[in-house]
């Protein structure tokens, strides 16, 4: 299955470009069910350059989470190739860091103990270097003094900060984030989205960010991939040409609104296509 780019939006990079951190080529995934097979995603091709922040946006159930899980190696795909940092996708790579909508903190562990869990899974001893790094990161995400608290003693926003600290502590080169702010209240979400933007700018971090929030995608991304549904495929890539650092003032700019409008236009196109089918 070939690429199916739609609209006038441009394809920012070609998939075979060198230096891609993540590369998907014609990826398809079909779920078998009793009532037949369902194409979750089909012909998904895109790349993420080293240090690039790419968002994947689309309606619920369009398969954007499936794309993320395929890249993480958490689920298999039947068609196409997925390359992450030069190797086929597989789970258990410490170069890849995951974050979900839920913080997924273990309630019987303190925040600090949750942070060193990845190293326990890797089978590595938790030495002073790691402990110090954990302490620094807790400080950075604003949780200094909360390291010995249990997750249920923290608010929703603080829990997601702890999850971010756990993601950072293994120093992955690619972040795969699945709607990490979606479960937070609006005020907390707005605070965190700018903090995240600043963090990723400073670290020149490679990120795939799955979201259904247009503003979030525009604030954070270098490029926004818009997905259609049934079956899920990438319909267009909308480049976000806004200057960095991205600040709160940016949200009220004309450019910000225009890029948002363009994304809305492609999303509407995806809806009408789905309606035809």
């Amino acid at each position: 299955m070939g690429q199916q780019w739609g609209g006038e939006s441009q394809l920012a990079t070609t998939p075979d470009e060198l230096g891609s951190a993540v590369l998907l080529n014609g990826v398809g995934k079909t779920y078998e069910s009793l009532s037949g097979s369902v194409d979750a995603i089909t012909g998904v091709s895109f790349d993420i350059a080293d240090g690039e922040f790419v968002s994947l946006i689309g309606a619920s159930g369009c398969g954007k989470s499936t794309v993320l899980k395929v890249i993480a190696g958490l689920i298999d795909h039947q068609i196409g190739d997925v390359t992450v940092l030069g190797e086929p996708a597989r789970p258990g790579r410490r170069e890849v860091g995951l974050m979900f909508q839920a913080p997924v903190l273990l309630p019987w562990r303190t925040v600090r103990q949750n942070m060193v869990l990845p190293f326990e899974i890797f089978g590595e001893p938790v030495d002073d270097t790691i402990r110090n790094r954990a302490a620094e990161l807790l400080n950075m995400v604003g949780l200094s003094g909360f390291g010995d608290k249990h997750p249920w003693e923290l608010s929703g926003g603080m829990r997601q900060r702890a999850a971010l600290a756990r993601l950072l502590v293994t120093q992955p080169s690619v972040f795969l984030m699945d709607e990490p702010l979606a479960a937070l209240d609006e005020l907390t979400r707005e605070r965190l989205v700018f903090e995240l933007a600043e963090l990723c700018e400073r670290m020149k971090q490679t990120v795939l960010y799955v979201t259904h929030n247009i503003a979030e995608a525009v604030i954070l991304s270098d490029r926004v991939l818009v997905m259609s549904h049934h079956p899920g495929r990438v319909l267009a890539a909308v480049p976000v040409t806004l200057p960095r650092p991205r600040t709160v003032e940016l949200v009220s700019s004309v450019e910000f609104a225009e890029i948002g409008q363009e994304i809305r236009r492609v999303l509407a196109l995806a809806d009408s296509e789905a309606a035809v089918q």
Binding site: G92, P107, I121, M140, K149, A183, D185, L187
Partner: protein
């Protein structure tokens, strides 16, 4: 699924304080928890209020107790209630005191306790182990599980006469009965617990490359503990029932036998005294498991999310 905010009042962001964070020269992800996302407020005042409310909630049941016992005593004293049907509360009290002075009572209590606790350990332990095996090993789930469901619908106490034939009139048949009846709550709760282990947490563990055994010990086992302990509370109560029923069917000693004998001799005060002691024993055993649960699962009520 909704997360975070669904955690209740404690998870909601606190009231923002007027002053902002102390400025630091580090730009970064500045977050001052006092600003919008504070930790839940302390609960000391709440807990004081709660304990006084708990004390208040005891008034109504205590009042009911006085009224019921008073009426009962009055009905007995005035001859409206036959002592062969319902002996007077005062009579039961006297009988209990005299029973506590008898060596045969303590011997019976000791035996029934041993049967119950041994049955609980064997049955609950077996249920937990088989539950984990069925839950974690696919082939076992396919082959054994249908039979488990089939056997579960059998009223287990109906097996008591058979167990007496198989294992005799001694302690063993009682332990086997108690174990059989204590087995299923653990099995079922372990299986349900394993089925409902948080999917995101599983994915996180897989993402970091966790092996199946590591995932079991570091994620599944602690997570199913709540369900396991709930199963243990049920199993403990059921084990006592199992032991008593097995004693009824055929035994020489035990609280069940004592109860049966007093009943047969129409010593109703004594029979009721045994009954009351049995209720207390059951409650005590339950409370022991309950205390252990509180100590072990300090995060109770806060699942992985």
């Amino acid at each position: 699924m909704s997360h975070g905010l669904s955690a209740g009042a404690a998870g909601r962001p606190g009231i923002a304080t007027p002053e902002g964070p102390t400025p630091t020269d580090e730009p970064s992800l500045i977050a001052d928890p006092a600003h919008g996302e504070g930790p839940p407020r302390t609960v000391s005042a709440d807990s004081v209020r709660r304990s006084s409310r708990r004390l208040g909630s005891l008034v109504a049941p205590a009042l009911l107790f006085v009224v019921v016992i008073g009426t009962w005593e009055w009905l007995s004293q005035t001859g409206r209630l036959s002592r062969f049907v319902m002996p007077a509360p005062s009579g039961i009290g006297t009988a209990t005191i005299s029973l506590l002075g008898e060596a045969f009572f303590w011997e019976a209590l000791r035996l029934t306790l041993v049967e119950t606790v041994l049955g609980f350990i064997v049955g609950a332990g077996g249920g937990l182990i088989l539950g984990v095996l069925i839950g974690e090993v696919k082939i076992l789930r396919k082959t054994i599980y249908p039979y488990v469901v089939l056997f579960q619908s059998l009223p287990k106490v109906a097996l008591a006469p058979i167990f007496v034939i198989w294992f005799g009139f001694g302690t063993v048949s009682k332990v086997v009965m108690a174990a059989t009846i204590a087995f299923f709550p653990l099995l079922v709760n372990t299986l349900t617990g394993l089925d409902s282990v948080n999917k995101n947490a599983k994915m996180l563990f897989m993402g970091y490359g966790a092996s199946r055994s590591l995932m079991f010990w570091k994620l599944s086992m602690p997570e199913i503990l709540a369900a396991v302990m709930a199963g243990m509370k049920t199993a403990m109560t059921l084990a006592l029932i199992g032991a008593i029923v097995a004693e009824f069917v055929g035994a020489q000693k035990g609280l069940g036998i004592l109860l049966e004998r007093f009943n047969f001799q129409l010593q109703m005060e004594m029979a009721f005294a045994v009954l009351m002691i049995l209720a207390l024993v059951g409650l005590l055993l339950y409370l022991i498991v309950d205390v252990i649960e509180r100590k072990v699962i300090f995060w109770k009520g806060h699942p992985v999310e």
